[in-house]
């Protein structure tokens, strides 16, 4: 087993705490046996099992043991570390230890919940994971957070409803903002939506209200027709190049540079454009839902449907088609311009479509309205009523089988209607329907906005769907993997206005806490060079994808000889560990994830080749 540190023959003083999680763990795992096995380790001073480690009692037990028994490392075996690792680091710190002398073992999500049907195997696995955690804990080092001076200004990219909300919130937190919008006006898609659910407020009115607040806010500086052309630096101190949008921007240098502590990306979405001919797209009587809503709203007093909708000819029947470019299925749908199949649901279109269909019936009662759908997903509060109301208003629903698609074709010349919608309808037991209509409205998907350039500049990752990717969809939904780069609104995926502004407010609050002090604190999980091993091969520099994160510098050895040696800039390092694997001398490690710690864990997991539980003598150990 790897050498357990610098204290010579002195053993570590590790405390191990196994959580029952009120039965969530202990109903499957024999926690007493796990604690007993942990207690058998020579480095373990105390091994308890308690009902709830995260409770006050659990936390104070640890604190007390650290103080009274002089523990120098703590291991807790409980739920997933994403829930309580930070809790226990704080406990350890309160007790006077460095918070990084703490190791977590996940025996709930990855043991008791996964192996309910084999309690013996679950207990064996839990015991081994705890032994591995002890082995790693023995090799943990004290670490300090990386600190960077914070610039108290934020860049918001995108002036749609999400960007506007984020900018306003930031200003209200007292934070200066530069708001960059690529087009020549603020508002994004909402500006052109007509009446929007759930309030019925016209999109333009909503935007005008936000924009006037932004204009009155001295802390927000708006740059229209401007785009980001370069991003360097790191959380707390990004240097962002801006330039005016021109016909030909390629290769044009940046016009100016702004220094900001954080970046909120609120670049929104792009409307899906079906392939020409698909669902009749390109035919003058086939329009998108956004276009249709706009027409409806522009002529609100007009009772004649043709005049209201700007159609040359009678309007007697309209078909609405859901899921155009959303929830695409391989083998059934063709990829659009992006080359990707949009397998996701665009979420807002169902409610927007059934509302537009119902409004059409209410305003033009003589017009027949057919709503052609696969599933109705009016998911949010009160939205189900929109669906019900559409039915009450006389909208006829037709349900397409999931692996089939409706088609839209020009009708033969002699037909009284210009278009024919064909589909099978599962609501009438698979009947083949042919619906003649004057107009087809396509509820087109929300697709990822044009963020390729921003992604290249910031390294903020995108998901398989092309939208910007959050760190964790539930636990860290507005943070990108790049510290200091936050995501707001539909840049992250399809959302309605309320969800977009909620996420924008969350992103603003994150920035406000991040930049609240004079310095930004970052986790210390970055690369570190062991100069006693480094021979200056430069392999780490060659492999590192992040400019300035690792480099070589001259170091004078004892004899006055100057040699190149690697160094890490902790604020630019992202902690991926690419450098660790390529160092021929094993001189680089990621702090908190050191290779010697991994080897020790593997050794602990494989310690007993028989694979059956070792005999335990409970009298040897202290248990709670």
């Amino acid at each position: 087993m790897a050498d357990r540190g610098s204290e010579g023959s002195d053993r570590r003083r590790i405390g191990v705490y196994v959580c029952h999680c009120g039965g969530n763990i202990s109903d499957v795992v024999d926690v007493e046996a796990v604690a007993a096995r942990a207690g058998a380790d020579e480095d373990v001073v105390v091994a308890w099992h308690l009902q709830f480690m995260c409770s006050d009692e659990g936390q104070s037990t640890i604190e007390q043991d650290v103080r009274e028994l002089g523990l120098d490392r703590v291991v807790v075996a409980a739920c997933t570390p994403s829930l309580h690792e930070t809790t226990f680091r704080r406990v350890v710190a309160r007790a006077g230890l460095n918070p990084y002398l703490y190791q977590h073992a996940n025996i709930r999500e990855q043991v008791s919940w996964a192996h309910v049907h084999d309690q013996a195997a679950a207990t064996e696995k839990a015991a081994r994971l705890v032994e591995a955690a002890i082995a790693k804990a023995a090799l943990l080092r004290e670490l300090d957070e990386v600190r960077v001076d914070a610039v108290h200004r934020t860049l918001v990219v995108g002036g749609g409803v999400a960007g506007l909300r984020a900018a306003l919130d930031l200003a209200r937190w007292g934070m200066p903002v530069v708001l960059v919008e690529r087009s020549n006006e603020l508002g994004g898609h909402v500006l052109r939506l007509g009446r929007t659910y759930p309030t019925d407020e016209p999109g333009r009115a909503l935007i005008e209200r936000l924009v006037s607040q932004v204009r009155d806010e001295p802390l927000v500086e708006v740059r229209l027709s401007t785009e980001v052309c370069q991003v360097t630096g790191y959380v707390g101190d990004f240097h962002v190049g801006l330039r005016a949008v021109r016909e030909e921007t390629d290769g044009h240098p940046c016009d100016e540079e702004v220094e900001v502590g954080a970046i909120v990306v609120a670049t929104g979405f792009r409307d899906h454009e079906p392939a020409r001919g698909r669902y009749g797209f390109g035919h003058p009587r086939v329009v998108t839902l956004a276009d249709y809503q706009r027409r409806l709203y522009a002529a609100e007093g007009e009772a004649d449907p043709a005049r209201a909708l700007g159609i040359d000819g009678p309007v007697r029947a309209i078909a609405f088609l859901h899921c155009v470019g959303s929830r695409q299925v391989e083998g059934v749908d063709e990829p659009g311009a992006s080359g990707r199949l949009n397998t996701y649901c665009s979420r807002v279109c169902c409610t927007a479509t059934v509302r537009a269909a119902a409004e059409t019936r209410r305003r033009f009662p003589a017009v027949r309205v057919v709503d052609v759908y696969r599933d109705i997903r009016t998911y949010a509060r009160d939205q189900e009523q929109e669906y019900r109301r559409a039915g009450e208003a006389g909208v006829v629903f037709v349900r397409v089988p999931t692996d089939e698609r409706a088609t839209v074709e020009p009708a033969p010349r002699e037909d009284p209607y210009p278009l024919l919608v064909r589909t099978r309808d599962t609501l009438t037991f698979g009947a083949e329907l042919e619906v003649p209509v004057d107009l087809v409205v396509l509820a087109t998907a929300m697709e990822p906005g044009p963020v390729e350039d921003l992604v290249a500049m910031t390294k903020a990752p995108t998901g398989a769907d092309g939208f910007l990717l959050e760190v964790h969809p539930k636990l860290r939904p507005v943070e990108s993997a790049i510290p200091g780069i936050l995501l707001a609104g539909t840049a992250r995926g399809p959302m309605d206005i309320a969800e977009s502004t909620t996420s924008a407010s969350a992103a603003a609050a994150k920035v406000a806490t991040l930049l609240a002090g004079d310095q930004v604190e970052m986790e210390p999980f970055v690369a570190r060079v062991d100069l006693s091993r480094c021979r200056g091969s430069g392999e780490c520099v060659a492999t590192c994808p992040y400019p300035g994160a690792v480099g070589l510098q001259d170091v004078e050895l004892d004899e006055g000889v100057v040699v190149p040696r690697a160094y890490v800039n902790p604020v630019a390092c992202k902690g991926c560990g690419a450098c660790v694997a390529v160092c021929p001398n094993g001189a680089v490690d990621v702090q908190g994830w050191e290779m010697s710690q991994y080897l020790a864990m593997v050794d602990a997991i494989t310690a007993d080749p028989a694979g059956f539980p070792r005999a335990i003598d409970p009298s040897e150990v202290t248990t709670g």
Partner: protein, 153 residues
């Protein structure tokens, strides 16, 4: 499962190198959904499996890890170019495994996202079946490569 396979399943060990941002929460979600997978599976979180040098895999095999599942973020990795680097490294490990007579199916490179519960169950299940079939790694390492002439690396 026959008796030999049962013995193999109990005495073999599978290591999962799980990327912290994708696979690790995906494996948590698998547990949350109470989806069963073999209990001889040990998950080690890592910022990115690109950090492990070739020698790490050999340490694992030599210590008796019978199968390794690399549960990376794939091309969704938040770290630029890391998947390509990782894939190239694993190819080198495969060559070394062939040279030393180890069945390369013992090492499996996959991408598991934070909600990919079924994909994880499938991948780890497939690997477990391979390991069951092959038996402990130690025997295969002891046998060494096929005699020269039968297959070149």
């Amino acid at each position: 499962m026959d008796l030999q396979a049962q013995t193999n399943a109990r005495s073999t060990r599978i290591l999962v190198l799980a990327s912290l941002l994708c696979a690790y929460p995906g494996i948590d979600a698998t547990g949350q959904a109470h989806l069963d997978y073999p209990a001889n599976t040990y998950v080690l979180p890592t910022p990115d499996p690109v950090m492990f040098p070739e020698s790490f895999y050999w340490h694992c095999f030599e210590r008796g890890i019978d199968g390794i599942l690399i549960a990376s973020c794939g091309t969704d990795s938040p770290y630029e170019g890391s998947y390509e680097r990782l894939a190239a490294r694993i190819n080198r490990v495969y060559r070394q495994m062939k040279e030393r007579g180890l069945d390369i199916r013992r090492l499996r490179l996959t991408a598991i996202c934070s909600v990919c519960t079924k994909a994880f169950v499938k991948e780890v299940g497939d690997l477990a079946r391979v390991v069951e079939e092959l038996g402990p790694v130690a025997a295969e390492l002891a046998r060494g490569p096929e005699p020269v002439g039968s297959e070149s690396p």
